[in-house]
Symmetry: D4
Subunit: 222 residues, 8 copies
């Protein structure tokens, strides 16, 4: 027993569900529909948990021939066998409307792996009263995912309001000096609010997986 | 009641302990010894939790005139009234010996705020057997802080081994293309292991505060 | 009449006071004390307004042999013949204590050129109640200079609270991903609060001169 | 009364007109036509001032179903209920013909919010006599917006000629080492002319909003 | 005898086969089909070794009118007169499925110039057991080419496992902070595993040519 | 007499021919065909020298309605009234075939303004004998324009062989670490061969204009 | 038997000699003299091969209390028990005199691990005849290490002359646009000479270790 | 006869005087006083032209034991056997007083190699009348060297005024966004004035050597 299945074009880590409470997640870019089909089939067969394909465009999604999957277009996510809900509440907060696709990925992945999500949209710091109005909603969360582009200041403001883990997701929203999300990334890393952590630009998926790890420690597989 | 104390040279956030379970932490660079003395005195008076001063060089530490503090030289940390231990285990893993000062800060801050720490040193991926030998130690942790410079690959390797939260701290160890830690930072942000989160370069403090937030959700103030 | 005085080592723009309401300001780095002495003497002789030397270290300041100057050590500024006050109120707000030297330069230059200043210190967004408490003070200003390092989020928050001009000064406070102020600079340039303007890193002087231009339009030389 | 209207997909800041003399401006990228329609409708209902949508491509503009708007194609701006003119004169100067679309946005936004504009085109420093010929036009302005790409030197030259506020807008005109406007941005930030301020690359909108803030202080809502 | 053939549009280095054991390789981008045809014809006439055209898209490949060539689509490589096999074993290891096109180029070029290749796919460090399972395969190689994007950590892990030369190829797989392969490049250059060498981003060709040089020293032209 | 013609959409510098021996050159990107038509017409009317439009794509070129122009497609250049030849010899040397379009622009512009050109193609340093074979051709030039992408090493090699001015043009040829020409640019600026000068990436035009200035000093308008 | 020795402050990889034919090499920066002493003692006891400490400044070298070591000051290298010579010839070529310290490290490490070295100094491409004069010396090598700063063009020139492996070491020699070696690094990675490989800036050590790997394949441990 | 002298620590290019009209110039950093002494002695013996050592600090200069040299402290240049004057006039223009050391190097090197220099100081574009006042002085030059830091705009303004070659030298004057001269470098490379050429940051030497090449073509060795 090697802990992986060698499909030729891929070496599927079928041990990951035992190791980390979740099967390997399939990253779609650069994979053929037939390859995705094969990997998903293998993951469904070798484990019992949810199976996810991320960054999957609609055209390719239509060619993945595994029954039972549901596709979230904004999130570009396909899911088979979603996990039952666990008592871990994630609040997903966005700075602006343009950050929504990234937040949608975070929300959809959280949902697929059994975390409870609550979304708070459009609370950027240019109108602080909008943020202060959702203070209670933020305070009820077990973790907050902050999704913001441009200067990403929302992460610092939220980080100062709540005591729970804050995972900041910089987005590529903006132009010019926003540098495709690099500015928000750097800003979040140097936040004056202590204890924020940061994931890759536009990675709603990464933030949701960080929440999965938090839930593992906080509530296990309940 | 404003929630802060205005000392003239500083506006101390005395509400933070209630809000986030920990008083404001004092960042020493750019502050005069008398200012640090004043802020620490205020924080001790207005709250009941631990009071910390970070990035404090030994010379300045000697001029801070508040009794009862203890100074950790490698961590450049001064602490008053450390918190009692809580049942939350943080494993601090380093890639190489040169990463130790950053890891020492993470360990010392964790200790001061009541988290239990376990240190695993010198398990860089150039000798994977060293890392595999501590697999059990890693698996017992509620969170792992990975401290690594150069290419920072330890974060990805650890991220694939454990299910709990992994907070990656890039360090400025290395030269040339290491770009003072920027390379390790970028590498950790693009890790192939899902759900890692990252803090600023050389910020052992930031990683410990992220662990504080994790503990808040997982075990509260027990 | 050429509009400048050729001292050999410098070509002093003695026309600037007529053109812009303020004599040329002397940038000290790279100049010898004797050169500074000569230029200041020329500017005092050829005009009637205030004469300023910026970024002047204390050692060199002691060697500038022109009577009547006063030296501000934190601001590294030397001033002769300060302007009488004009009815233009500038509020200088800082995010943290470490940003003070840059704010001090802004304040001292504003004072020397006749603008009224009001300083609000240590109102970073990690404790929003500190900022909201000074909302009235900000609202009374004719212009606000925001001085902030790290992620520079204070600029966006202030930009959303006031209607007057906001000049943002990024500082080199911070480490690692703060990139010596470049991160704050980029963040302020991509602020979600509309109509902010930005000056060079650590340039309290630049912000004060921007305020000088604002006052020119708003109140002229009253 | 919360100060915002929650439309589900957006949290419209209806308090901004009272706070800053201008309703929230809608940034079109990433928003659906129906969303823009909804937000504009809300802003028109909840306030009395001008309503603007920026960076709106012609195709989407045709799908925004709110009567009474006028669309400026070069400026990519749609405006409802433009403000009456106020006695504040903005001169918009461009270095070259290729900078025109950015200048057009600045001009159109200024017009929509009631500022008087005067445009001076194609006065780049490679032919200084072109710039010197418009010196009088520049001197009559209450503020100058300088729009320039490539090395952006026009900002420095104008900054030395006028006493009023100068807002510099770097553009992405140019190739190679122009780095999509980053070179002009950096150059403007380090101008040898004191008191220039800078906005984001290609942000004619940002410069116009900075002028709005200037007008607020100089002439209020007259 | 000049050592080159001047075709007007190109100066073909017909001496290279004698000098380096391999004719000049044709880099297709920017060349017309007729030019490629002419250069290949010249190389076939003036030497006896394999002739290769790299980075050749399928459309252009169809227009190259020289009989006897075979085209590898994934590798974008066209080959005439491939070399007979030499006793030098190259193992090509990839971190993920998306790295395959770059690895395919390395494999195809190695094959064309007479090196024996063995491919190990999808052994990224997020599942170390997959890598450890191929340890024997790696140990049998005379050289290993590691192809990895994102954070490129596989290079360090392999570098610590084998004694033979390791040539690391960073790929542009990934998004955001992956910076189109720059992050993997920097990470490989700062590897904690000693003696790795690195080639350009996505350059499977460069790695194969490095192996050609290794084989020259190790086994000559046997 | 102002020295320029104000066409509304452009302020044409009709004084430049007197000042610099050549009319203003029209940069096509961002200009409408009608605007180009108008500017060219004005330049032809107000001067006697050659009129050039650069970076003109074929589609737009077909819409420029001024008789007598000839269009060079590879060089993307349109020329009216080319200058008679002057006794100044420019050698244009390229490193590889892919650098040809940039060299073609240099050659075509030189030809249009009366400089004599000689082209040496494909003499990159990977086969030094190709370069050494043209040493005499290089030595006969009054100036050499070196056009090279990738690492741009040809500039240094040529710089060490000739005594005359060498203008280096980095090109965007290459991929990955070539960074769209930035690497060649930096390399040429730090050449170990003394006295090289450098122009913008892909700017064959800039190099030709530098040669125009050289010819002005060396041979005047002969 | 774990394959490592846990000294508390370090986890020494005592298995590396068996795995890679050379004990772990000690990187001195960030280590205390007592720690270096301990690690060297452990390595000498647990293996039979050479023991090296790199980047060791003279002051610390004097405090390392392990008899039998010899210290190379220019190379900042300390060696115990150097390996007997093996029949593998490395030619170390430098572009300029200022590159010598990096070349000295490469030479000293090669010597310590049993490789035969031949040094060719000061053959930069600004005087190609110097390079061509050593062509025979280069041709006799089994591998060439090219050490060059500034634009690093020597690597490309050598790469075109020899058939054996070429390991390029960029150095931080130069100023301004040399960017502390980054320019040479990028230039070497994009060399027009095929099959070059590159190591980190100023890493003479890395190049020597790459040669160690080459020798492993070419001549084993003979 | 090889064309070079092998001193062991250096391979002196004694052929360069014949090839380029000037002996090799010695770059001091990284060379020992004895090495400089040896190289200078060799160059004096093997040629007849001027011998120069650049970037030589005063301490090392005092240890160079070759009689007859004169040392320019501001220019950090030592010269033996300066060339007789040739009829080629170089105007060296600086933007500000802080740029003087770089301009001094340009002036001193020009003087040593026989070019006639004229210096125009402190004519930055913030006071255009200062520049226009020296227009005649600029027009009399055979070439202009423009030395400017910060945003480097002087180069564009001069480029538009004169017809002769303009060599732009960016300096590291400035702070923050000046990025140690990189901003001025990029700005000069993207100048709107056609035909400027650029040398490395702070390289007064490079500009003077470019002038040497210009003089070679324009006036030969007269």
């Amino acid at each position: 027993m090697t802990g992986f299945a060698d499909l030729g074009y891929a070496r599927v880590d079928v041990d990951r569900e035992a190791r980390q409470g979740l099967p390997e997640v399939v990253y779609a870019p650069g994979k053929q529909p037939a390859e995705i089909t094969g990997i998903v089939t293998e993951l469904l067969a070798s484990g019992t948990g949810p199976v996810l394909v991320t960054r999957l465009d609609p055209g390719t999604a239509g060619q993945v021939e595994v029954p039972g999957g549901s596709y979230h277009e904004t999130a570009r996510l396909m899911v088979w066998r979603p996990a039952p809900p666990r008592p871990f509440r994630v609040c997903v907060a966005t700075a602006g409307t343009a950050d929504w696709p990234v937040a949608a990925e975070a929300e959809a992945v959280c949902g697929a792996i059994g975390l409870t999500t609550h979304v708070v949209r459009d609370v950027g710091v240019a109108g602080l009263h909008r943020l202060l109005a959702v203070r209670e909603e933020l305070a009820r969360a077990d973790a907050v995912i902050v999704v913001a582009g441009m200067e990403g200041a929302l992460a610092s403001a939220v980080g100062g309001l709540v005591a729970c883990p804050v995972v900041a997701v910089p987005t590529s929203t903006g132009y010019g000096a926003a540098l495709d999300g690099v500015t928000a990334l750097l800003a979040m890393l140097t936040s004056c609010a202590a204890g924020l952590t940061v994931v890759n630009i536009d990675s709603g998926f990464g933030a949701a997986m960080a929440a999965h790890r938090l839930a593992h420690t906080a509530v296990g597989r309940r």
